[in-house]
Symmetry: C2
Subunit: 391 residues, 2 copies
């Protein structure tokens, strides 16, 4: 029997608005079609959130068609029919025999589709920043008459300004992130394995908050003593000690929308050094929040942070944050000096005052997810901005 | 203060053995260096398991040097020093200012390194199958004198045959997978949200089994009625019903090593149709296991499956499995007809008798992770091979 459509995260009108923005970018570049292969951009344009990152799949946005066409392996077609707003004839399968074939693969099926619908000799946008060299060469070799234009991050830039329904999901995700932080504060104690704390945190991220379950659990990062100077370690096999410091970075997720938060925990009283760093980084975070409003630049925000930290004798080398949305980071602007991207209402960022380079074996984290408003900022995450001292 | 080395998952001897295998492949291709950018291959050659998938990073294996050199962003250097077997001078940082820069990025730092050590006009292997078009072009433009050879999956093929210490981790991971299945059987009940079941499963995958915690939680897939015909949906916002079927695919992870398992659950008695499909797919799985031994081919295994299923009137279009190891799937062979890869002792595979294409709204899953032995097979996962009927 045919699979039925599942509940849709967004209305058809919302998807058509996003597609209209994509088509406007295509028109500016004189393109007849845009081939979307980046997973988060496929999610954005269709609602597809199933995960099979290794399989070729792609979406063709045609200037002539209201809906895009989604080409993917046969096994994944029912999920696409169920999850996305797309009409049945806009989901096109390629045979399972192409899986694990070193020569012909799913991109050949996508190229066949482009040929079949008369796009082989037209202006085609490709996401060359994420398409592998081999795959990109396949498009070029098989479509020699096409005028291929690199459209990496064209959709990602559109994604930067959220609609109100997207902001609602970001808020729900942020509430889940807060719940994860509060759960960490409840459970972390000396003698506990890091993995057992992560178990409780992941369970909270899945259960969600306010009756809204997490729809995914993003990678948690837990870097505890003697690893507080490291970033991006997920967790270790260690147990917490009586004087452990724990740097935690987690994110709730709702329908792809991800709202990260970081907080630092201290088992027992925080050291003088940790307090001094916390006070400085918190002041930097607040200086950033005081600066943010529609019309200011990413660079302005970073400068406010650096001025504040330098006055307190602290250097922060890494950028102060980046846009967030579907699947955590959007690869567009950065909150760093020199980035002249102008903030607009409903852009969302992960403002990260983490500092891992204070010393090789000492770092600290604090971060929030915020939304730009006309007159300022709305911080979506809301766990207390303190060192969580666990006794 | 300098960060200390953490406990190492493998001995230095083990890493040098892997590097010797890499250098042997380089010699066959007359290469002076191999540039590794694929995350799982970096893990394999160094022990690095921290996660920052969006940042350029790379490892240079030089024919002239015992240890490779690992080039990554400054923020991630302490984690590399802590987690890997590499000497301090083999971990090279690039400045944080390169993050989020649309022009120059971390690959420029890697190319600078190649130039500095005199490799700019030599034979260089690159992983073009995973390097993006833009990044690959950067290497080619900046190293015009180099003889660049595509070495995609060269390391992945080496990874296919595991050492005994790797098999030990696969077994520990498999025990965690089993625990996840048994936990699912305990908690799934009518009226429960799928997210609440996932919370319990993820917590189990983190806590681990036999005193060995999970060191990561791979993507779980939970496709329940009316979505049993879909694959790769993580979970939904639904609750289970009195007659729900639940297709679950999960994997425990130990130090990157991943041992997937799939089982099907039925709330209440399984339907006749589900039983019939289960019996057939189970027979197919057992026929595969009876066939597997060192010396037979992937194709032989798939043929045994298809012959068994066809005798029972069932068609399976998707391949019957793939090699597994670090980060789940290894992109090398496939258990499918026509794949003449010869099985060797200590190759590990995910044998997947899932079948999602029986009907668009009806599918079934069962799978095991196995190791090839000289005379047969050792199945690493061990949850009962049944439909879990939950009453």
């Amino acid at each position: 029997m045919d699979i039925k459509k599942g509940p849709q995260a967004f209305s058809r009108t919302e998807y058509l608005r996003r597609l209209a923005a994509a088509k406007s970018q295509m028109e500016q570049r004189d393109l007849d079609a845009l081939v979307i292969t980046e997973g988060a951009n496929i999610t954005y344009l269709s609602g597809y959130t199933a995960r099979s990152p290794n399989d070729p799949k792609g979406m063709v946005v045609s200037a002539q068609q209201e809906e895009p066409t989604f080409i993917l392996r046969k096994m994944d077609v029912p999920a696409a029919l169920h999850q996305t707003f797309l009409e049945r004839d806009k989901v096109v399968e390629y045979p399972e025999a192409l899986m694990g074939d070193p020569g012909t693969n799913g991109y050949d099926a996508l190229i066949d589709f482009l040929v079949d619908v008369g796009l082989a000799n037209r202006g085609l946008g490709l996401e060359l920043g994420s398409l592998s060299m081999r795959s990109a060469q396949k498009f070029m070799a098989r479509l020699p008459q096409a005028r291929i234009v690199d459209c990496t991050d064209v959709i990602t830039w559109i994604r930067m300004v959220k609609s109100d329904p997207e902001i609602s999901f970001m808020k729900e995700a942020a509430a889940i992130s807060d719940a994860g932080v509060m759960r960490a504060a409840e459970v972390i104690r000396p003698g506990m394995r890091e993995a057992d704390a992560i178990a409780e945190i992941l369970a909270t991220l899945a259960r969600g908050a306010n009756g809204k379950p997490g729809t995914w659990t993003a990678t948690p990062f837990l870097c505890s003593s003697p690893r507080t100077g490291t970033s991006h370690i997920t967790w270790s096999e260690d147990v917490f000690h009586g004087d452990s410091q724990v740097n935690l970075e987690i994110a709730g997720v709702r329908h792809g929308y991800t709202a990260p938060i970081s907080r630092t925990f201290s088992i027992g009283r925080a050291s003088e050094r940790l307090r001094r760093v916390h006070d400085a980084q918190l002041a930097g975070l607040e200086a950033a929040l005081d600066t943010i409003r529609a019309g200011c630049t990413c660079s302005d925000v970073a400068r406010a942070v650096h001025r504040t930290l330098e006055a307190r004798g602290i250097k922060k080398e890494s950028r102060c944050g980046y846009p967030v949305g579907i699947d955590w980071m959007e690869r567009t602007a950065s909150l760093k000096e020199g980035d002249m991207t102008v903030l607009k209402p409903n852009m969302t960022f992960h403002l990260h005052l983490g500092n891992w380079m204070i010393d090789e074996d000492f770092g600290y984290v604090i971060s929030e997810t915020f939304r730009v408003t006309e007159s300022g900022v709305e911080v979506l995450t809301s766990a207390p901005r303190k060192i969580f001292e666990l006794t």
